[in-house]
Structures are given as structure tokens and as C-alpha cells.
């Protein structure tokens, strides 16, 4: 099965391992992620003011491009997924905006494409049972904390594929991989997001709450599908360990990296060495790489 795939900017630069693991893993599961022939930045933020149509032009161009190839578009990055899915809903449901945007980008698009996150494809196309069967490595000794962040689930009516207050898709994903799921209350709390750009200390402390909570729940590892969350959670752990006595740094992986590892794929291309908290000693100790 071939599904057009939108990698996005971060997965083409800072998070190449995320991208590579996504493509390799899905291929191993029989799904070819075919990179869109023409794509551009999604804008990285869905416009906050309702009349800001210009910022929708970028994401919609990607959807128009996808529509020439298929009725589906696969996305791995939570933030791109959020922007593309919501932009698509504007094109589908808001006629006056659709007309203006189409006029501006010279297209005739009405939201025909279904924007799907890789986890949705795993759940709805592959199926958890089939995923389980494809797992080659034993993850039963690994306790993983699922981290959703904000943009993956919210706003709930638009994202709408899981309960935003009690999401289960990452938990079910981890269970399908055979890992233990660490239950902790901060799994959908904000990591600090772009606050890092102007108030780093606040971001660090917000991330610390999540990291410490995951550790307290016995997690060995955190998994997320958002590059900014991954960065915020991963980047400052040495500082946090110095500030908060007793805090042990915890590796933060992308969902697709753990997926690829569980499927027994060659993880050398997954850029595990690019993480600030090196996950390799843990993964090696658990016999996974």
C-alpha cells in the first residue's frame, strides 16, 4: 500500500532519524510512505486569528499536492499533523475561506484528502494485532512513558481521533510493541513549546515536571511524536539534573524510532546518537540494539 507522505521541515533537518525510522518501519509493515513530489513548510503553527488566511495558503498547497496523488496524506510530526489537519477542515467546511484561499493559490481544493497521523495508520490500517505480530524484539523489560504533548490531541473537536482528556493511542501502540506502559499524569501536559524562545527557564521547569513525573512512574524511556516536545524534553536534562538533586536523565525517543527497533530494523540510521540524552546504553542494556 502506497500513501503520500509529508515529512515536514524538522524531519528533513533536525529529526532525520524520526523520518528514516518512519519510512523504514512503515515499509516493513507493508506501507510505502511516498514523499510528496512537491511540498513546503506547513507553517508550524495553525493561525491563531480566524481571519488570517494567508498563513493557510502554505499548508493548503501541500494538501493540493497530496490530492493529485491520493485521497490520503500520512504525517509523522504532531505539529505538522495539527496544522495540516486543521487547514484541511477549513477547506472542507468553510466555504468563504475556501474560495479565497483557492483563488489565491490558484487551486480547486475542498478538503478531499484525509490527513492521517502515522499512529492512526498503525491503529486503523495496520491494526494493533498485526503490529504485535510483526514485532521482532522483546520489549517486555522496557517501561515506556507515552508523551502526547498539546498539539497532537487539541483542539479535540478538530483533531478528534482520540479522547483528549484520556488518550489511549500511544498506550495501545506501546502495548502492541510489547513494552510496559508507565502511567503518569503529565502525559498530555505542555512541555513549554515555543516559550523556550523567550523564557527558557519556564520551559525547562515545565519539561522537568513531565520528566520527573515519568521517572517517578518507573519509566526508562519517553516516547513522543512531536519534534519540539522531543527537543524541549531532551535538551535541558543535564541542567535539570544539576538543579534538581536526584533527577536521573531519561532518554526521549520518537515513536517511530522505538517502532523500528521493535520491528528489528537496523537502527544505525535512526540517529540515536543525535539525542542529547543518549538512549543507546539503555537500549543496549535491554538487548534492543
Amino acid at each position: 500500500m502506497r500513501i503520500p507522505y509529508y515529512p515536514g521541515c524538522t524531519l528533513s533537518t533536525k529529526a532525520k532519524g524520526f523520518d528514516r525510522a518512519a519510512r523504514d518501519s512503515m515499509a516493513a509493515l507493508g506501507i510505502e510512505l511516498a514523499e510528496l513530489k512537491m511540498w513546503n513548510c506547513c507553517g508550524a503553527t495553525f493561525p491563531l486569528s480566524r481571519d488570517n488566511l494567508l498563513d493557510l495558503a502554505g499548508p493548503v498547497r501541500n494538501l493540493v499536492s497530496a490530492a493529485t496523488e491520493s485521497d490520503k496524506l500520512a504525517v509523522a510530526c504532531s505539529t505538522c499533523f495539527n496544522v495540516l489537519k486543521r487547514s484541511n477542515l477549513v477547506m472542507r467546511n468553510e466555504e468563504d475561506k475556501r474560495e479565497k484561499i483557492n483563488f489565491f493559490i490558484e487551486a480547486e481544493y475542498a478538503g478531499e484528502v484525509e490527513v492521517l497521523h502515522l499512529l492512526e495508520i498503525l491503529r486503523d490500517v495496520v491494526g494493533w494485532d498485526n503490529l504485535s505480530k510483526a514485532v521482532k524484539k522483546n520489549l517486555s523489560d522496557l517501561s515506556v512513558a507515552p508523551y502526547y504533548g498539546c498539539m497532537f490531541l487539541r483542539p479535540p473537536k478538530e483533531m478528534g481521533f482520540d479522547d483528549h482528556e484520556n488518550p489511549q493511542i500511544l498506550e495501545n501502540f506501546l502495548r502492541a510493541l510489547g513494552a510496559q506502559v508507565a502511567d503518569y499524569p503529565h502525559r498530555a501536559e505542555c512541555c513549554g513549546n515555543y516559550i523556550a524562545a523567550f523564557d527558557l527557564e519556564t520551559t525547562k521547569e515545565m519539561s522537568y515536571l513531565i520528566l520527573a513525573s515519568a521517572r517517578k512512574a518507573g519509566a526508562d524511556l519517553i516516547v513522543t511524536s512531536c519534534p519540539l516536545c522531543q527537543f524541549n524534553l531532551d535538551r535541558w536534562q543535564q541542567d535539570l539534573a544539576m538543579k534538581h538533586g536526584g533527577f536521573r536523565p531519561i532518554p526521549v525517543l520518537y515513536d517511530t524510532q522505538l517502532l523500528g527497533i521493535a520491528l528489528g530494523l537496523d537502527a544505525t540510521a535512526f540517529d540515536l546518537d543525535k539525542h542529547y540524552v543518549d538512549p543507546r546504553p539503555l537500549l543496549a542494556a535491554k538487548g534492543l540494539i
Binding site: P156, K157, D163, H164, E165, N166, P167, P185
Partner: protein, 452 residues
């Protein structure tokens, strides 16, 4: 239907909670016959589950049981419990209702209500009447004061029905009333008018993932807390939390769980929760003197006779701590339940390490109501509450002549309002029956004529 056939001066009342019972007694005491149907084995409805009523703190059962007993013994009230109305045909004056009675597996004509079967039955299951916190036997009555005080067998729990073993109740029954072969029976009743009083249910709190209801045992709903406070409840009125039976020292009450939430649940105010939460917190403090009660609220709506004073009593005399704001997350940590919320008056985030959380869920119509509405062609609002003919001046009438509404079936209501509306519905039925019975229409001597 023959033109000359006289209208039937008998009423069918669907739902035997406080609304149905009130209307039944009003009509029966006026000399007309009542058929009172309820799906439960005995009458009393939700009110029988309550501990004490606001704002007087009267014992709910003490108020209600004289009425259930009167209804049970009334020569003009025919109780049809453990039964559901499956079809209604006809029009005002001549309705035919089909009532299906579920098999009780006990011959009620013979049963004396001695209770020996319940005493000896070896199978215990979680009691829905006690919101799953207490146990009942597989052969059961809802409460020791049940009317009628005749048991039924829960065929999903009884080991004779599930595994073909036991029959102990049959052996011990002194009057041989147990009948495992009993079938559902169908009865047709002819009535001239109908009152729908099917009451309310609680909003499905599992939909509100932030509160952890259904996952954390010490997060309970308001009705469960009523059972914990009730002297006839699973803990005999002692406040004990479900997980380990400990006395909770920190209890967080959360109002508007699903009410006033147009984005996520029900947009309307459920009206009774402010008052019963104040009552819960107050009664909790009366039982656990060293305990702390917190209440998260949006507003305190205490519009009613002596309601505002009741709320003040909770805060001033019983030192209940009111926090204006919503709760964002409830989760388990060790044996505690941590509550994250916002205090919107001070602008602070609040974290409370509680032993127990009590949610005040939105009131929603009983699921059966929609089926009845379809059967009778009565419109509902988007949430399934039945629409009266006019909210202002025809509050108990419906678009269907001869069909009336009483209690929470039209909107959330407390007990006094429900009772008042039930009597109103009864009055409407009685005015029809009086016309049909040929009560003199004109006054023989105009009122005040003597004085002139």
C-alpha cells in the same frame, strides 16, 4: 372505536419515583383508578437512594416510605413493577397500553416477603442500587423497605440460571413461591390518560477523561456518595472510600461534572448539584469531624426557599472550603487521588492530595424516555428531555392530548419542584376525569352571591 363509548377514568403512570407516586396518590385519593408501572422490582425511584434532603436535612426514606407504603396498599392503585410499557395505542379517553412484566422467578401471589431466600442465597453481586459499592444477593429486593416487599431473581447472577446449580432458595422457601420457569407476561391496560414520570439518569462520567471516573475507584458520583451517607447504605452511613474502606480525611467535591459544558458535554445547568454538593460536604463534616471538604464550583446557584442560607451554613458553620474554578485533572498517586484545579478568584493553580473525589454529574433523561417519546410522538429537546406543550403556561401538558409529564422527565428538578409538578399533572388528569364523570359544571349559587 365506538363514538358512544364513555372515556375511561383510569390513569397510567409510567415511572414510580417520587413524581409518579405523588401523582398516583393524588389521583387515587380523588376516587379514580391508577395503574403505576416501574421497571424496577419496587417503587420509590431515585429518592429511595438518597440519604437526606436539602435544605432541611430530613431523612429521604422517612419522607418517602409512608408514601410508597400508601401507594402499595391503596385500593385504587394497581402496582405493576418489574414491568415496562412496550406499546401504547389509542387516543385520549381510550388508550391501550401493553405492559410487559419481566420474569421475577418468584410467584408474588404466594410470597409472603419473609426474606428467608435472600438470607440463604449464597451468591453475592455488586448492587446497582448501592452504585456497585455494596453487595446484594442473586435473589433480592432493592431495600428492606421495598414496596412491594417481594424479591426477584437476577438471572444473570443466579448460579441456577448460569451454571445449573443451587436451587437453595426453592428449598428454603416456606410457601414454595420460587418459580424458575416463570416467563415474561404481557398485560393490556385500558386507560383514559397517561402521565410520564420516568425521571433522570446520571451523565456518563466516563466521557470526561480528566476526572478518571471508572478508572480510579475513589472517584465516585453524587449518587454513590448518597449511598455512603445513607444509614441503609453499604457502609451503614459511615463515610468509607471504596478502594480500601478507609475513612477519607480529604474529600474533593466537583460540581458541574458534565453540566454547563457546551463544548464537551451538556450545556445546561443541572440545577440540583449546588445544593446537594453543599449537603454532601456538610454531612461529610458531620460524620468526619477532622476531615476537610473542598468544593470546586463555577457559581453557587442556591435559588430556592432557604437554599442560600443552607449554602452559608455549609461554609460558615461546617467550614466547607469553596474554590471557584474547574478541575483539570484527577489522577492516582499511591493511595491518594491528586486533584489539579484552578482557583479563578486568586488566579492560582491548586493541587489537592485527596483521599476521595465526589463528582456531581449532569442530570440526563432516563434512556427509556426516548423510546416512550417515539412511541407517543412527543417531541424532545436535543438532550432527550420531553418537551411540554408550553414551558410557561402549559408545563405538564404535551402535544399529545391526554398525555402529561411530571418531574425530571422535562428538565432537571429537585424534590419539591418535582412533587409540585406531579400534583399539577394529577390535577390536569383529574379535571379530565371530572368532566368525563359528569361532575356538575355550573355553580348552583354563585360564589359571593350571599353577600350581595
Amino acid at each position: 372505536m365506538a363514538e358512544d363509548k364513555a372515556p375511561i377514568t383510569r390513569v397510567l403512570i409510567i415511572g414510580a419515583g417520587i413524581a409518579g407516586i405523588q401523582a398516583a396518590l393524588d389521583i387515587a385519593n380523588s376516587g379514580y383508578e391508577v395503574v403505576l408501572v416501574d421497571k424496577e422490582p419496587s417503587i420509590g425511584g431515585r429518592m429511595l437512594q438518597l440519604s437526606e434532603t436539602f435544605p432541611t436535612l430530613d431523612c429521604a426514606q422517612c419522607i418517602l416510605t409512608p408514601r410508597t407504603v400508601e401507594a402499595g396498599h391503596h385500593e385504587r392503585i394497581r402496582l405493576m413493577t418489574f414491568s415496562e410499557v412496550t406499546a401504547i395505542t389509542g387516543e385520549i379517553g381510550h388508550f391501550t397500553a401493553t405492559v410487559q412484566r419481566k420474569p421475577a422467578s418468584v410467584n408474588w401471589d404466594v410470597c409472603t416477603g419473609c426474606g428467608l431466600c435472600q438470607e440463604k442465597c449464597p451468591t453475592k453481586v455488586a448492587s446497582p442500587f448501592d452504585r456497585g459499592m455494596g453487595k446484594r444477593k442473586a435473589i433480592y429486593t432493592l431495600s428492606p423497605q421495598a414496596v412491594p416487599n417481594k424479591p426477584v431473581i437476577d438471572r444473570d447472577a443466579c448460579t441456577w440460571f448460569t451454571r445449573g446449580k443451587c436451587r437453595l432458595c426453592e428449598k428454603v422457601c416456606p410457601v414454595h413461591a420460587i418459580d424458575y420457569e416463570q416467563q415474561a407476561t404481557t398485560t393490556e391496560v385500558e386507560v383514559g390518560a397517561i402521565i410520564i414520570a420516568t425521571g433522570y439518569n446520571l451523565y456518563a462520567l466516563e466521557n470526561l477523561g480528566e476526572y478518571g471516573y471508572g478508572q480510579i475507584p475513589d472517584v465516585v458520583d453524587g449518587l454513590a456518595f448518597e449511598r455512603l451517607l445513607s444509614a441503609s447504605g453499604p457502609t451503614a452511613g459511615k463515610v468509607r472510600r471504596p478502594s480500601d474502606g478507609k475513612e477519607p480525611k480529604q474529600v474533593v467535591f466537583i460540581q458541574c461534572a458534565g453540566s454547563r459544558a457546551p463544548e464537551t458535554a451538556m450545556p445546561y445547568c443541572s440545577k440540583i448539584c449546588c445544593m446537594y454538593t453543599a449537603k454532601h460536604a456538610m454531612l461529610y463534616k458531620h460524620r468526619v469531624h477532622d476531615g476537610t471538604a473542598y468544593v470546586f464550583y463555577i457559581d453557587v446557584r442556591a435559588a430556592g426557599k432557604r437554599y442560600e442560607e443552607f449554602y452559608h451554613r455549609a461554609t460558615e458553620e461546617d467550614c466547607v472550603l469553596y474554590i471557584r474554578g474547574k478541575v483539570a485533572r484527577v489522577f492516582r498517586e499511591g493511595d491518594q487521588v491528586i486533584v489539579w484545579g484552578a482557583d479563578t478568584l486568586s488566579g492560582a493553580s491548586v493541587e489537592i492530595a485527596a483521599d476521595m473525589v465526589v463528582l456531581a454529574p449532569a442530570m440526563v433523561p432516563h434512556p427509556e424516555t426516548r423510546r416512550l417519546a417515539e412511541m407517543l410522538g412527543i417531541p424532545t429537546n436535543p438532550y432527550g428531555f420531553l418537551l411540554p406543550l408550553d414551558d410557561n403556561v402549559l408545563p405538564v401538558e404535551t402535544t399529545r392530548p391526554g398525555v402529561f409529564l411530571a418531574g425530571a422527565v422535562t428538565s432537571p428538578k429537585d424534590i419539591p419542584e418535582t412533587v409540585a409538578q406531579a400534583s399539577a399533572a394529577a390535577a390536569k388528569v383529574l379535571s379530565l376525569f371530572a368532566q368525563w364523570s359528569g361532575v356538575p359544571q355550573a355553580m348552583e349559587t354563585p360564589v359571593g352571591a350571599e353577600a350581595s
